[in-house]
Amino acid sequence: MEKENKSDGKAKIIRYTPWLVHFNTGACNGCDIEVLAALTPFYDVERFGIKLAPSIRHGDILLVTGAVTKKAGERLKRLYEQMPGPKFVIAVGTCACTGGVFAKSYSVYAGADKVVPVDMYIPGCPPRPEAIIDGIAKLLKKLEQS
């Protein structure tokens, strides 16, 4: 899917304190616990000013985990529309990137990019917390340059 709000200059603002929203669209929980682990003392993404926002209305970056199932896909679209711009989507895990082993199943869309535009893919089954931090850092670097 194509992204509508490509670069309007506002994206630079959020790079110091991007707030994350995490949504599980049918993951096996592997990626979810790694996202959770990235928030805990060992990895601690709060060093980058990143915070897990409770509500989608506060969020800047949407972390999508899981092969997007058809029922959760509708919710994902709705969540994305409710986010205030500028908004960015990170697909965490192989399932969210392309569907992984579930790509051929009858009840998944296979990949978050089929429903919402994705700005950064983090592959891995599941990605290590370091890899998640690396992905977020790469996205923030990209914002700096935009």
Binding site: T69, K70, K71, Y106, S107
Partner: protein
């Protein structure tokens, strides 16, 4: 070998067929007598004496039948026994045991949604539960062997 089950075999409610690996005793019964059997189990083993582990539904395409296996775990030794029955594939109907054993809720609803077996007397049966709506509209039961999904 459990005595209470042996009695049911003697009374003709169950028929001993063989085993499923590893060492699970397999019994067959006719699908009309399902409620009778579970009432007897509740009476003889007691509420705390067993639990229903799961129901496995399998589509046997070549016999035009759907096979239902009721897996019962008898406590306290945790011996698993299998109660097997067949229903007609074109008109799959069987009595629900939900009011006797509430644990049957999850497997009965699952089999209804995946294989299309109707459990008579279960108020919670509904489609779509989890099968995507487009498949439900087409009337496809994904676990049937001839379903192309």
């Amino acid at each position: 070998m459990i005595e209470e089950i042996n009695e049911l075999v003697k009374e003709g409610l169950l028929k001993e067929v063989g085993t499923i690996k590893p060492n699970r005793e397999l019994y067959e019964f006719s699908h009309e007598r399902i409620r009778e059997i579970f009432k007897q189990l509740l009476e003889r083993l007691g509420e705390k004496g067993f639990y229903l582990a799961t129901i496995v539904g399998t589509d046997i395409l070549k016999d035009k039948k759907i096979r239902l296996d009721y897996y019962v775990v008898v406590l306290p030794e945790e011996t698993t026994i299998v109660l097997r029955t067949y229903v007609d594939r074109d008109n799959p109907e069987i009595n629900s045991i939900l009011d006797l054993i509430p644990a049957a809720l999850a497997p009965e609803c699952e089999i209804h949604d995946l294989l299309g077996v109707v459990f008579k007397g279960n108020p919670a049966l509904r489609r779509p539960f989890f099968v995507p709506e487009e498949l439900v509209e087409k009337g496809i039961y994904p676990l049937r062997k001839d379903a192309r999904v």
